[in-house]
């Protein structure tokens, strides 16, 4: 479980996120809803101690520095070493958790071996996204944060990914952000929304409700 106590974020005197108290359940897929610029990516940066913030963020009773090794973020721009091949990137960023052969086996569901041997500067945006998803399979983190993950993915990959994310959630605590609600409707367990710059839990059992993310977004009238 990730607990936020009196969490807030300001840039100089400008408030980005007002004082908020909420929890992200373990082995759960939490979705953070908000318009562009509302502070979704900023929240992820704060969680990982990459930005200063007020309040407390606790990961299963631990400070971020104790669990950092078990965290992974898939950023929207999917940074990789573009001068190296996909496989070499996974060997480096995979921290030796899987061998070259194991990576090739896992990769079958995402990218074919020929592409994996090519330099990342030849990859499309969607292929880079797939490479990032492959990194999740290699590192198998306890805490996974995905920023705009569905952007750039083809329909087939999105269908595969919904199943994958559900499977990952059996072992991982996952926080996702994005705007393609139709993709997230199927996978979200609990829903967090920005309300007057505050983050609140809108629906703890979203998967059991009959509402769609589109409806809730309309209700929020951002």
């Amino acid at each position: 479980m990730i607990e936020f106590e009196d969490f807030s974020k300001n840039y100089s005197k400008k408030s980005i996120i007002s004082k908020s108290n909420f929890k992200l359940k373990s082995n759960n897929i939490s979705f953070l809803m908000g318009p562009n610029g509302s502070g979704k990516t900023t929240l992820i940066k704060c969680m990982l101690g990459m930005e200063y913030y007020n309040g407390k963020i606790v990961f299963d009773g631990n400070d971020i520095d104790k669990v950092r090794d078990n965290c992974l973020v898939i950023w929207d721009d999917c940074p990789f070493y573009t001068n190296l091949s996909g496989l070499e990137n996974l060997m480096i960023l995979g921290e030796g958790k899987k061998s070259r052969e194991q990576i090739k086996e896992v990769a079958v569901n995402y990218l074919d071996n020929d592409l994996l041997r090519k330099k990342v500067n030849t990859y499309s945006y969607g292929q880079k996204k797939k490479l990032a998803l492959l990194l999740v399979e290699v590192l198998e983190p306890d805490y996974l944060f995905m920023d705009e993950i569905s952007n750039g993915l083809d329909y087939e990959m999105m269908r595969t990914l919904t199943k994958k994310i559900k499977k990952w959630a059996e072992k991982m605590s996952i926080l996702v952000t994005g705007h393609q609600f139709s993709f997230y409707n199927e996978i979200v367990d609990s829903l967090l929304v920005f309300k007057d710059k505050q983050i609140i839990i809108s629906n703890e059992n979203f998967n059991k409700s009959n509402k769609s993310l589109e409806d809730i977004y309309d209700e929020q009238t951002y």
Partner: protein
């Protein structure tokens, strides 16, 4: 835990061929020294044979000249040599000795004072900038703190510098041995054997350690320049300007201090020479080197820790 992240850095160096390129550059530069020494032997040997021809086979005169002494006098730009036959023979012997496997490895270590600043400075610059350039710092600093990120980079640089330096040295030594055997086909060694008693008695180990310290120091300087400027070109220009172009900034100058210590460690008997230095004490020089080394480690770690991973 740190091991796997050090491995990450080393793997990048291997996959990106950065290590290979740096090693090749260093071998190329070492080869320049080997061929400068080769040319020195050939030039001096030719001077000797030409002078010998002027004696027109007068054995008595030749023996008398070789048994005597020579004097070198400089008048402005003109150098006068008394007894040039002996002078050219001694010089040929000297450069044959420095080209030999007995001395060449020491000469390569001596040349590290000239080449290590730029070569290892470049390595430091590459390591300081590549994660920023590809924005992969955003992935890495999720899984390690920024402070550890910087420390890991610096440890990896120390390890890779040692491996690169030793590899380049070993390969260059093999090249030097090959060149020496080629020289033996041109110059009859039996005529040019000399007993050399060198001034510095520091062991090969001390020489090797000092050459590695120069590499380590400049890899750190390259690293901090990369951290500050976030740009390899600006960093390498600054390094070249400091090492090769600007005059020494007096007795507290770092490069001047390195030169002073190197005079105590190396013999500079071959083609590598040091330009004039500003006199200072050995103690001062060592303190300056150590201070700069510590400052670069601490400052680069502080800057990396404070700086956002998201700034371009």
């Amino acid at each position: 835990m740190m091991n796997k992240h050090i491995n990450q850095e080393l793997l990048y160096g291997v996959y990106s061929k950065s290590f290979l390129i740096i090693t090749i550059i260093l071998i190329t530069l070492f080869s320049v020294i080997i061929f400068m020494n080769y040319n020195a032997v050939i030039d001096k040997y030719h001077d000797y044979t030409w002078t010998l021809m002027s004696f027109e086979g007068n054995e008595t005169a030749i023996e008398k000249a070789l048994a005597g002494e020579f004097h070198v006098e400089k008048q402005g730009n003109i150098t006068h040599v008394k007894n040039p036959l002996l002078y050219h023979k001694v010089m040929t012997e000297r450069y044959m000795y420095t080209a030999s496997p007995e001395y060449m490895h020491l000469q390569l270590l001596e040349s590290s004072i000239v080449f290590n600043p730029i070569v290892f400075g470049l390595l430091g610059l590459i390591f300081a900038t590549y994660d920023k350039k590809f924005k992969t710092i955003k992935i890495k600093t999720v899984r390690i703190s920024k402070k550890n990120f910087s420390i890991i980079k610096q440890i990896s640089l120390a390890i890779s510098s040692l491996l690169i330096f030793i590899s380049a040295l070993a390969i260059s030594y093999i090249i030097a041995v090959g060149v020496y055997y080629r020289l033996l086909n041109i110059v009859p060694l039996s005529n040019f054997v000399t007993d050399v008693s060198l001034v510095n008695i520091s062991s090969i180990f001390t020489k090797l350690i000092f050459a590695y310290i120069i590499a380590l120091l400049f890899v750190q300087i390259g690293y901090i320049l990369g951290v500050i400027f976030k740009n390899r070109i600006v960093g390498i220009m600054a390094l070249m300007l400091y090492v090769y172009i600007l005059p020494a900034f007096g007795k507290y100058d770092l490069y001047n201090s390195i030169k002073l210590v190197s005079l105590r460690v190396f013999d500079f008997y071959g083609v590598v020479r040091i330009s004039q230095i500003t006199e200072t004490t050995l103690f001062n020089a060592i303190i300056i080197i150590m201070t700069v080394f510590l400052i670069t480690i601490i400052t680069s770690t502080i800057i990396t820790s404070k700086r956002s991973s998201f700034n371009p």
